[in-house]
Each structure stands twice: as C-alpha cells, then as structure tokens.
C-alpha cells in the first residue's frame, strides 16, 4: 500500500500537470502521512537535500553558462568554428556541430547550447538554403554533446544521487570520448544528409582569418583548460572550478570583450536563479522521495525483480536503457537522474557495472530524451528559433536519432569508451 501511495500519487499529480518538484514532495508527504510517521521528516529531507556543498557547482555552472551566452563568448566560438570547417560538405551543419563541441567544453547545459549555438547558426543556415528541419535536427542533437563533455552539472547531480561517492573528476573524464564519438557520428550523419540534399559548402577563408577568429574566441575557450585541467589535476574541486568559471566569464565579457552591460548581468543572474531554483528544488524534494524509497527498500525490491528476469548484465543494461528512454520521453533529465539513480545504480552495481560507466550511459540516454516529444526541451528551443513546428523537425530527425542510439549502444556495451580515459589519469 505504501508503494502504491508513493508512486500512485506521484503519477496522478504528474498527469494533472503539477510541477515535478511538488509531485515528489506531495507524494512523499502523503506516504509519510499514511504510514503514521511525523510529516516533519519530509521537510527535514527537503532542507538537508539542498544543504550540500558539492551541489553548489550546479548554480555556478548554470550561472557561468548564462553569462557566457549573454556576454558573447558563444558567438565568438561559433565564428571560429565557421572559419575552421565551413568548407566541408554541408558546411554550416558541420560548423554547428563543431561549435557545439567547443561550447560544450565550457557549458554543461544542452538547452543553453541549443539556444546559444542554434540562435546564431539556424538563421544563417536557413538563409544559405539549408532546410529548417535540417538546421533544427543538427542543432538539437549536437547540443547533447554539452552533457557529455565536462563540465556537466547533470553528472554532478548523478554523483550526488549515487550517494556522493562517485568521483566527479572521473565522470567528467569518462564523458570525453563518448562526447567526441557523438560529435563524430553526428558529423558523418550531417554530411550524408547534406550530400543527399545537395547543400552548399563555404569558401575556406584562409589561415589568417582562422587565426584571427581563434584569437577572438581563445579567452572563452581557455575555460576548457581551467575547468577540466583544474578538476582533473585536483588543483581545484568541481565546486571551486565552477565558481572560478563564473568569475572568469564575468572578467572576459566585461574586461576583454566589453560586451556585458549591467542590464545583461542582472538578466543573466535572474535567469540563473530561476533555473537553479527549479533544478535544486527538485533535488531537495527528491531527497524526501529518496528517503522513503530507502525506508521502503525500493532498490532491493527492484534488484530482486530484475534478477528474476535475467542474470545477464547485457540484458539488464538493455532493459534499463529501454526504461530510461521511455521515461526520458516523458520526463526531464535532472529529476529522472535523481529518481532513478538510487534504484538502478545498486542494480547495475550488483551486476558488476562500474558506476562511472553507468553515469555516462544514463546521461547520454536521458539526453536523447531531451529531443523527443512530448517533453523535448532542447528540440523545442531549436524549433522555436527556426520557427517550425516540432512535427516538421521530427519528420527528418531519424538519421540523427539512429546516430545517437548507435553511440548509446556503443557506450553501453564498450565500457572502455568511458573507463579508459579516467584510468589513464590514475
């Protein structure tokens, strides 16, 4: 009965449109009430769930991302990518992917990336005769690269949801090869589709221009070294490097680019507060929900069930991937990480899957869900920028989905893609 109330109330509230954070909180409150436990505990867990020092990296990375988009760092990176590889077949599509890869190295948000890179690239692509659907598909799928390359606040959420014992430095490192693999797979797909549709190439602007744009974008891209180098070498913790990213983004945009006004700064700050509050409230509420799941042994029960279905880790991983893909269609990434990690991580751990490897699988899997309706925020942004409907974008997205799913399967069944690079740093 407790289980029915916890998950039933959650589902019903979600279906009537209650915000996810409150679905988690209210279903916990109802369950605690039914079990006769003091309701106090729900609110204690809510407060304790967000009073964690490591969580601070999330507002900082989000804040830094908002500052970089508003302050023109993203725009300069796009210009550099354009000069570098615009001359490949389907040039602007390739530029879009390259820019997403570079910007993904300093931002952890797929939506910010779709807005930043897509905002600049999609109008250009349409103007140069590319199909709007193609522009949207390239933008929305390559935005997922930001989730895999460091920094990635979703990886921090995963680490915390996994009990805070999974190394953030290892997760950041583990995402690099899968991130680049995704970039490569999308690049090949974009090339094939562009050939078929006969899209143009850009003229190579000459090395002088490339050098000029590189110099222009260098101050922004230096953040890659600061964040990854800092976290990986252990000189800075993830929290410290995220804070430095904010300060650095302010310095670059105010002093170097002189592109950040007070108004821009206030806007970026308020936007960061909104996003952060939304994400972290879900984390806090999930603290209460997760407490009840532990109290009710949900992880143990699902482990037993999974073990009764199969004892083959490959089958278990496939099952989990399918469940996550389905859930990812309907729900947003961070709440799903928060809710499902405590359930699935002990299961896969029992089957000998490395938690860092599983983290990469989960991030990529749920990332694909950000591009599937009915709840596909990344796709929504890209489509909104291109002024086409989701359905128009959906019609031609399948080659890109196939590329994404292929990378997901490779990442799932070749653990070395995730685990080799972290092992090099040990």
């Amino acid at each position: 009965m407790e289980y029915l109330i916890l998950f039933g109330v959650f589902t019903v509230l979600m279906l009537i449109g209650t915000p996810i954070a409150f679905c988690l909180g209210i279903s916990s409150l109802a369950t605690v009430g039914y079990m006769g436990l003091p309701p106090l505990v729900v609110f204690q867990r809510l407060s304790a769930g967000i009073s964690v020092f490591t969580l601070m990296a999330i507002p900082f990375f989000i804040f830094a991302g908002d500052l970089m988009v508003r302050g023109g760092i993203a725009a300069r990176i796009v210009a550099f990518a354009g000069s570098l590889i615009g001359h490949v077949r389907g040039g602007l599509g390739q530029v879009n992917i390259a820019a997403s890869t570079l910007f993904g190295g300093i931002s952890g948000s797929a939506v910010a990336e779709a807005a930043a890179v897509g905002g600049i690239m999609i109008p250009q692509m349409k103007e140069r005769g590319y199909g709007a659907d193609y522009a949207v598909n390239v933008t929305s799928m390559s935005a997922l690269i930001a989730l895999l390359l460091p920094p990635s606040h979703n990886m921090i959420i995963y680490s915390i949801s996994g009990g805070g014992r999974i190394s953030i430095a290892d997760l950041f490192t583990a995402g690099i090869i899968p991130g680049l693999l995704l970039a490569a797979a999308l690049s090949v797909t974009a090339y094939i589709v562009a050939r078929k549709r006969g899209y143009p190439t850009e003229a190579f602007p000459g090395f002088a221009r490339v050098g000029y744009y590189l110099l222009q974008s260098l101050p922004g891209m230096l953040l890659i070294a600061i964040i990854f180098g800092g976290v990986r070498s252990g000189v800075f913790t993830a929290t410290e490097s995220s804070c430095i990213a904010v300060i650095y983004a302010v310095l670059v945009t105010v002093l170097v680019y002189r592109s950040m006004s007070w108004r821009d700064f206030v806007h970026a700050t308020q936007q960061a507060v909104r996003t952060t509050a939304m994400v972290l409230l879900i984390i806090g509420m999930a603290g209460a929900f997760g407490w009840l799941m532990a109290y009710l042994h949900v992880a143990q029960i699902s482990l037993n069930w999974m073990q009764s279905v199969s004892d083959n880790p490959l089958v278990i991983l496939l099952m989990i991937n399918i469940v996550l893909l389905v859930l990812g269609t309907f729900m947003d990434m961070s709440p799903l990480i928060i809710i499902t990690t405590p359930i699935f991580l002990p299961v896969v751990a029992a089957f000998g899957v490395d938690p860092v490897h599983f983290g990469v699988i989960m991030i990529l899997n749920l990332g694909i869900g950000l591009n599937t309706p009915p709840l596909g925020p990344v796709q929504f942004v890209a489509a909104a920028v291109a002024r086409i409907s989701i359905w128009e974008a959906m019609r031609s997205v399948w080659p890109f989905y196939i590329a994404g799913l292929t990378v997901l399967m490779l990442v799932t069944y070749v653990p070395a893609l995730s685990l080799w690079l972290p092992s090099v740093f040990k």
Partner: protein, 308 residues
C-alpha cells in the same frame, strides 16, 4: 514468528563495518530473547541521511535508532564536546573504562533530555595525523602544515594550537587534494586511512592518537516508551553486550588495516613525544572547559583507571 515491532536504525558506515555489525549483533540478541517479536533493521551507508540528520530524525521519532559519533552531537548535547576533547584519553581501554563507569551514566542523562535513550557506547578508534611530506614526531614538525579536519570548532582549534593550518573540505576531495599538494595531509583512524586510499598518497602516519571520539547507539524516546519494561531491559542488555562485540571487531579491523597499509608501504611513526602535544592543548582546554562541571568532568576522566 513475525516481527511485532520493527525498529529502524541508521548508520553512515557501510555494511560490514564494525558499528553496523555491532548493531546487527544487538539485533540478533534482541530477536532471540523476544522470540522474534522485536526486530532491529539497520540501514547502512547513510541511506536515511548523514549523522546530524539521522540524530534529528531519531529525536523526532521518525526513525527508532541511530548510531553516530559524539562529534555529531557536540552542538546538540554540549557535554559530548568535553568527552571529545583531544588527548583526553590515554588509550582505548581508558576510554572504555570512562564510558562504562559512572560518567557514562551521567552522559546518558544528558542525552535523555534531548529525547535520546543512550544504550551503548561503541569504539570510534583513535584518530591520527598522516601526511605526504615528512615523518612527524614532534609538535614543531607540524608547524605551517595544512591538514584537512572535520568541520568542528574543537578540531579546528586543536590544529591551530599545534601550529598547523586546519582546512575543512569535503571528505571526497581529500585524496586528490593531498595528491596535488593543496593540503599536506589529513587525520583519521587506521581503517579509514586504508579504505579511503589516502595511504597511497600520504604515507607518513603518526600514531599520536589525538582524538578518541566515542560512538553512541541511541533509541528515540518516543519508540522507547512504547516498549514494555521487560523489553527495555532486553534491549539494554543486548546493547551492552553488542558494545563488547563491537570493540572486539573494531580492534581486529584496526589491526588488519594497520598491517595492510604497512605492507603497502606506509610508514607508521610510533615514537611520538606525546607530552608536548598534550601541553600544546592548554589553550583548547581553556577555551572549551569553562564551567566547573566540565572542569570536574575532565579531572575525573583523567583519574579513571583503564579497564584491564
């Protein structure tokens, strides 16, 4: 028989750790003596929250039992701070004698005022300094070095009194911070020194035993009052017996970890001039032992003879 009463107990340590096994031993005895009526279920690995949170939950009657370090009670039950002072106990046996004697009873009364029934005092082991730089033998050796300590006023002041820099940081960051020289070292007991992997990056382990912080197993007053006096008695006895088992397990674990880190290349410095360390604590005791009661308590602890 089915469990009529299930008492849920929280622990931050993983399954298999001496504190978890201690409460499980208590659970086994209680189950046997009540013919299966009362079950104690241990939730290890911080599943229900960190120590401070689960102490609150026990006080509020959300969960029934908690195992936590005295360090986590410092800001709730002030007397525990006096009992966690650095270099207060000369040996684990000394601490056991204190906790099992009249002083232990007094502390139990202080816990009861905060809705916690203290059932048993476990061994938390002795914490020692370890670092990546040099073998530390004297207080002078510590000067200017940076050590990670727990976020606790006494521990921070202890480091300053020793002339070192206290650096609070999340436990998970310690390994890489030592590796890259952000800090020189940290402090902990042998089992944690081993399991955290810190021995790999900080090979000088100084057996100075600066902190011996007792561990408490407590029941929520709300849950306690629902038990019959007979059941309460069974619980008390089982808890006391489990303390003996836990202390034994702890000693074994400590020994095994010590052997393991030495085999892996750690250098254990046993030749430590403890008197100088103890003398350096004067300002700390001056700051925290202010009331006549606390002064008397420290005096009585120092006079207690170690258990045999």
């Amino acid at each position: 028989a089915e469990c009529e009463i299930t008492l849920r107990s929280s622990d931050t340590h993983p399954d298999g750790y001496p504190t978890v096994e201690g409460v499980k031993a208590m659970a086994a005895e209680v189950k046997e003596k009540t013919e299966g009526r009362i079950c104690i279920e241990v939730f290890p690995s911080s599943q229900l929250g960190e120590e401070k949170d689960t102490i609150e939950q026990t006080q509020f009657g959300v969960i029934d039992m908690v195992r936590a370090s005295f360090g986590s009670f410092n800001d709730i039950v002030p007397i525990t701070q006096t009992l966690s002072l650095p270099y207060l106990y000369t040996s684990p046996e000394h601490q056991h004698a204190v906790m099992d004697g009249p002083i232990g009873e007094e502390i139990a009364a202080a816990f009861e005022e905060k809705d916690l029934i203290a059932l048993a005092y476990y061994d938390g082991g002795a914490r020692n300094f370890y670092n990546s730089q040099k073998p530390i033998q004297t207080v002078e050796d510590l000067k200017g070095m940076k050590f990670r300590v727990m976020q606790n006023d006494v521990f921070v002041d202890m480091m300053s009194a020793l002339g070192a820099n206290a650096t609070p940081m999340p436990y998970g960051e310690v390994y890489s911070s030592i590796q890259t020289g952000v800090i020189d070292g940290a402090e902990n007991n042998f089992p944690s020194y081993d399991s955290s992997g810190h021995a790999e990056v900080a090979k000088y382990f100084t057996l100075d035993q600066h902190l011996m912080v007792p561990e408490l197993v407590a029941v929520s007053k709300t849950s306690w009052e629902k038990l019959s006096p007979e059941d309460q008695e069974i619980m008390r006895t089982a808890a006391k017996n489990s303390a003996t088992i836990q202390r034994q397990l702890w000693a074994e674990q400590e020994k095994a970890s010590e052997e393991k880190v030495i085999a892996a290349g750690a250098e254990v410095i046993r030749d430590v001039d403890k008197t100088a360390f103890i003398e350096a604590m004067a300002p700390v005791y001056e700051k925290y032992v202010t009331t006549p009661e606390a002064q008397d308590l420290v005096k009585r602890i120092r006079e207690t003879q170690p258990a045999q």
